[in-house]
Structure formats: structure tokens, C-alpha cells
């Protein structure tokens, strides 16, 4: 692998991150948001792997009988492993939440869900929904005196 390929991969990883973040911002569907997140994370992990990569090196495994040659940096690889595991866990959790929420609200649309959540919170709290300046939390402190 040459420098050129390295840069290609670098660009690809940044592109993945951009696509992921763009997806999170643009989609309203919970499932798509999770997908976008995992794309972004893949990009981040790819970047991390590339950091320690050297095109003339071997895998960082010391075996008996092998002569010492240049190895790729092992630390980013260890970090990537951890990061992948965490990412997978979080995605599973997000998906589980999405499924549960769909069961309750019958939709996967973030906008609708937000409104329903807001309404739920207000209902539980016994508070009127937030409206405008004309509905302050309590009568204001200024009590006009004649």
C-alpha cells in the first residue's frame, strides 16, 4: 500500500464521518439515525486504525522465531477494538430504545415522538404545555397597586 492509498483511506474515513453526521442531522427516522451514527463511528474507527498504519510494516504480533521488523503501531489497534465494542453496545441500546418507543408511540418519526414526549412530561408534571410569553409559570411578581 502506498502513500496514495493511505490518503484515499483517510479521505474515506473523513467522508464516512461526514456522511454519518449529515445523516443524523437530516433524518427524522429513528432507525436511520442509528444507521447514520454507526456509519460515523465506522469512519472514526477507520481513522484511528490509519493513524498507526505503516505500509511497510507487519502486524504487531511477536512470534517465536520471527526476526524483529517494523510493526504497525499496536496502540491504535487496541483502542479501535475497544471503540468498536462500545459502539456496538451503544447501537444495540439505541435500537432497543427505538423499538420500545415505536411500540408505545406507534411511529419512528423523531419530530412526532418529541412532541409526544413533551406532552407526556407536562402531563405527568401537571403543568400546562409551554406556550408563549402570555402564559408564564406563575402570576408575575408585579402586582399593580393603585
Amino acid at each position: 500500500m502506498t502513500e496514495f492509498t493511505l490518503y484515499t483511506f483517510l479521505a474515506a474515513s473523513l467522508g464516512l464521518i461526514a456522511i454519518g453526521i449529515g445523516g443524523v442531522i437530516l433524518s427524522r427516522n429513528l432507525f436511520r439515525i442509528v444507521l447514520a451514527l454507526s456509519i460515523a463511528e465506522a469512519g472514526g474507527n477507520l481513522l484511528l486504525v490509519l493513524i498507526g498504519f505503516r505500509h511497510d510494516a507487519i502486524a504487531p504480533i511477536i512470534e517465536p522465531g520471527r526476526t524483529m521488523t517494523t510493526m504497525v503501531d499496536s496502540i491504535p489497534q487496541a483502542m479501535v477494538l475497544t471503540s468498536i465494542v462500545i459502539g456496538a453496545g451503544v447501537q444495540a441500546l439505541a435500537l432497543a430504545l427505538a423499538i420500545r418507543a415505536r411500540a408505545s408511540y406507534g411511529t419512528l418519526d423523531m419530530g412526532i415522538m418529541r412532541a409526544r414526549m413533551e406532552a407526556d412530561i407536562n402531563r405527568v408534571a401537571g403543568a400546562e404545555p409551554a406556550a408563549s410569553l402570555h402564559a408564564p409559570a406563575r402570576p408575575m411578581l408585579t402586582e399593580r397597586k393603585a
Binding site: G20, L37, A40, V90, L97, M117, D120, E128
Partner: protein
């Protein structure tokens, strides 16, 4: 004491969390509290030793900067104790069924382990790992209320959280590219040549945002009001009180060791000020007590960021004081808001059937707005005098904002007091639950003890701040100048 006990701080609760479902019978309910007591015991033993010399553990005997390093100075010891005890007070004693309770207890233990790990981590990647662990545990706990609203709130929290972890990871990557290490001490050594440049600052900013999610840093705190309003009171207390503090601690360590730069301080200062402003003003129009507390917690943590931005031990002392005060007050208030979390109309006259809780509520509120001689005042005093000692400009602006928003804070908090002691006889307010009273009573006792012994505590606080601010000593302790017998 053998330094390897440091590893127990995160390991013990994590192990207990996974073993807990396997323990048979009634003993299962004892696993968590006993583990936490053990961690507290370790912390208490660490405290005196860390005062003379911070303790360093190189896991697996890979000498730093190789391998994983755990580092415990007095601040770490204090936070280890705080993690164990606060988790114990907010421990889930009951659940809807046994399986649910197991899950809750395991998650709480994971959270405690991760927080303990954050307190003693000596390298950047470990900070990231423990931080993510705490994140996953807190996602699980936040969704534990099992209402649809809680699930959506948590989902939004997960989205923001994951994006910011990605940012943090990118930041760490950048740092690693520049220096080739993630060991904090080694980074501190290398930083002046390699990281005090725009790229390093960009990395800091990314990590700041990444860790800031849990610390309710402005820009990445939009999740907080919804999650705190929907999660169980206990969980809100843990997240707002405990987890946020550990994230703060991590940021403060980065700031002290690696990025003691005016630009980094400015970033903290500006974001902190915005957090204060947005939190206090949003709380001013909150329609229910829980979200009011959530927003006020955002503001308080903003004040902590402002405090940590102040250079030198003065800033650390102020930051620690503000953070520790918030650690005591906010969980207690969330506990009390368990029954009194609704609109003000619902709690009108609640002081009649729960006089003790109402008194506790007032005590915490008074301390929060900084009425002397309660601890909140001394924290505010340290913060303001630290800010005033800085050159004018942003620093004084921050001081003015803190003074101004305290007025707003007093108004909305006194509305709650007014409602509690109100005269509306139509309302039938809920009386407080016993667990909330006991839990917040413990916090109140500690608060009062601190209030009465404040003059005695000023010195240890100062010493702690001085120790934490001394990055040269940190480097020297982790990386002794001569490393005999270690291959390069």
C-alpha cells in the same frame, strides 16, 4: 498500601456488577452495598497516603508511558470516596420485580465502577473507555423508568452522546498523531512542544465537547432537561450529581496537565458562561420542579466550568468547591423532587404534611443560592474572588453573569419555597417518601457538617488544589527521571 488496590476501584464494582445476578438468594441484595463500602474504604485509605505522595499504579508492571497507568492524588481519593458514598445513598433498594432490580443494581454498579475509574485514570484512552462505560450505564439507567417519554429522551441522549464520543475519539486520535502517546504524564511532558499549537487546541476542543456531554456543558446539554424529567429521581441525582463531576474532573485534569493555555481557558469560560445564562434563564420559566432543577444544574455546572477555567490553584479550589457543593445539593433536591417534581400548583402547601422535607428543601435551596454561612456561599465566594483577581474582560463578565443569574435563581427557587409554604387549601400535595427523606437527610447532614467546620476544611481544599495544579510533580511522580532496567 500496595498501589495495586487502585485497580480495585474500577474493577471491584464492575466485577460485582457481572457477578450480581449469579449470587443466590438474599445475599444478592448485599453485593452492591458491600462493594461500594469496600470502594469507600479503599478511598478512605488512599486519602492520607495521597496527601503525602500521590499513588501510581502501572498495570501489569509495564512502566509508564507504556501500559496503563492509574494515578491517585487527594482529589482522586476524594472523588473515589464520593462516588462510593453517593452511589450508596442513591442505591436502588427496590424495583418493580427481581429481574428489574438486578438490572438496576448492576447498571448502578457499572456506573460506580466507571466513575471510580475516571477518578484514578492516568491515561487518556482509559478516560475515554471509562467515560463510555459510564455513558452506557447511564443510558440504561435513564431508560429504566420504562415510560415511552423516558425512552425517547434517552434515545436523544444516546444520539448526542455518541456523536460527542466520536468527537472525543477524533480528539484523542489527533493527540496521538501528534505525540504518539496517551499517557497523561507523558503527554504533559510533550505538550509544550507538540500540542500547544492550533491542532492541539482543536483536539482539546473536541475532547472538551466529548466529555462535556455528561458534564452538561453548553452546546451538548440539550438532553439534560428531558432526561432528568423522565428518569427516576435517583438516576437524575446520580447523573447530575455524580457522573457530571467525574467528567468535570477529567476535563480539569486535561486542562491542568496538557493544555494550560489561555485559549483553552477561554473556551471553558465562554461555554461555562453560556451554560449559566441558558440554564438559569430557562429554569426561570420552567413549569415543573424537575426540569427547573435540571436547568439549574446545567447552570451550576456552567459555574464549575468557569471556575476551572481560572488559572492556578485558585481556580481549582473554586472549581472543586463548586463541584463538590453541587454534588451534595443536586442529588438531594432530585430525591425530594421525586414526589414534588410536578407543577407548583401540585405542591402548594406541601410543607404542612411533610415539614421535615420542606425544611430540607429550603436548606438546600439556601445553600444553592449561596446564603452564608452555608457551604454554597463559600464556593461562590471562592469562585467570585478567583474571577475578580483575573484581568478584566471576559473574567469580570463571567463574575457579573454569576451575580446577575443568582438573582434569577433565587426568584425561581423561592417560588418553590413559596409554593411549599403556600396557603392553598384546595390542593392535596403528596407527602414525601421515606427513602427521599432519609437520602436527602444524609446529604443535609453532610452539608451542615461542612457549614460548621468550613474554616477547618479550607486548608485541605487548598492543599488539594495545589497538589492538583502541580503538573511538574505529576510528571515526576509517574515518570521518574531515571528508569532503571526499562527498555526504551
Amino acid at each position: 498500601m500496595n498501589p495495586s488496590v487502585l485497580a480495585l476501584v474500577p474493577a471491584l464494582p464492575l466485577l460485582a456488577a457481572f457477578l450480581l445476578p449469579l449470587v443466590p438468594g438474599a445475599a444478592r441484595r448485599l453485593v452492591g452495598p458491600l462493594t461500594l463500602l469496600a470502594v469507600a474504604f479503599i478511598g478512605l485509605n488512599l486519602w492520607p497516603m495521597a496527601q503525602t505522595e500521590p499513588m501510581v499504579l502501572a498495570v501489569g508492571n509495564f512502566a509508564p508511558p507504556l501500559g496503563i497507568t492509574f494515578y491517585a492524588d487527594t482529589v482522586s481519593a476524594l472523588f473515589v470516596i464520593a462516588v462510593a458514598l453517593v452511589t450508596l445513598v442513591l442505591w436502588p433498594w427496590s424495583g418493580s420485580d427481581a429481574g428489574n432490580l438486578d438490572r438496576k443494581q448492576s447498571l448502578t454498579l457499572i456506573l460506580a465502577g466507571a466513575c471510580g475509574g475516571l477518578a484514578v485514570s492516568g491515561d487518556l484512552f482509559n478516560v475515554y473507555v471509562f467515560y463510555e462505560l459510564a455513558a452506557v450505564a447511564s443510558f440504561g439507567l435513564a431508560a429504566g423508568a420504562r415510560t415511552a417519554a423516558a425512552q425517547i429522551a434517552t434515545f436523544r441522549y444516546v444520539v448526542i452522546g455518541s456523536l460527542c464520543s466520536l468527537l472525543a475519539l477524533l480528539g484523542i486520535t489527533l493527540i496521538y498523531v501528534q505525540t504518539g502517546t496517551v499517557n497523561l504524564a507523558h503527554l504533559a511532558q510533550l505538550a509544550p512542544h507538540t500540542l500547544h499549537n492550533p491542532l492541539g487546541l482543536a483536539a482539546f476542543f473536541m475532547i472538551l465537547l466529548g466529555l462535556g456531554v455528561k458534564a452538561e456543558l453548553f452546546l451538548v446539554n440539550t438532553w439534560a432537561p428531558d432526561v432528568y424529567a423522565t428518569a427516576e429521581a435517583r438516576v437524575s441525582g446520580l447523573l447530575a450529581g455524580l457522573v457530571s463531576k467525574l467528567a468535570l474532573l477529567a476535563v480539569a485534569r486535561l486542562l491542568v496537565l496538557i493544555f494550560p493555555l489561555p485559549e483553552a481557558r477561554d473556551a471553558l469560560l465562554v461555554l461555562g458562561m453560556l451554560g449559566i445564562l441558558s440554564g438559569e434563564f430557562a429554569a426561570f420559566r420552567a413549569r415543573d420542579v424537575r426540569r427547573m432543577l435540571a436547568w439549574s444544574s446545567i447552570a451550576q455546572l456552567g459555574a464549575a466550568f468557569v471556575a476551572f477555567a481560572i488559572p492556578g490553584p485558585a481556580g481549582l479550589a473554586a472549581g472543586l468547591a463548586v463541584a463538590l457543593h453541587h454534588l451534595l445539593v443536586k442529588p438531594a433536591l432530585f430525591l425530594l423532587a421525586d414526589r414534588w417534581g410536578g407543577s407548583l400548583a401540585q405542591i402548594t402547601g406541601a410543607a404542612r404534611n411533610s415539614p421535615v422535607s420542606a425544611t430540607l428543601f429550603v436548606l438546600f435551596i439556601l445553600s444553592m443560592i449561596g446564603v452564608p454561612p452555608l457551604p454554597g456561599f463559600w464556593a461562590k465566594y471562592l469562585l467570585l474572588s478567583g474571577l475578580a483577581a483575573q484581568p478584566q474582560g471576559l473574567w469580570w463578565l463571567a463574575g457579573a453573569i454569576i451575580l446577575l443569574t443568582t438573582v434569577v435563581e433565587a426568584v425561581y427557587l423561592f417560588r418553590v419555597i413559596g409554593a411549599l409554604y403556600g396557603h392553598d387549601h384546595r390542593a392535596t400535595p403528596k407527602s414525601q417518601s421515606a427513602t427521599a427523606v432519609i437520602g436527602s437527610g444524609v446529604f443535609a447532614a453532610v452539608l451542615l457538617a461542612i457549614a460548621f467546620s468550613a474554616p477547618l476544611l479550607a486548608l485541605p481544599l487548598n492543599r488539594m488544589a495545589v497538589q492538583m495544579a502541580d503538573s511538574a510533580a505529576y510528571i515526576a511522580r509517574v515518570l521518574p527521571p531515571v528508569l532503571p532496567g526499562v527498555a526504551p
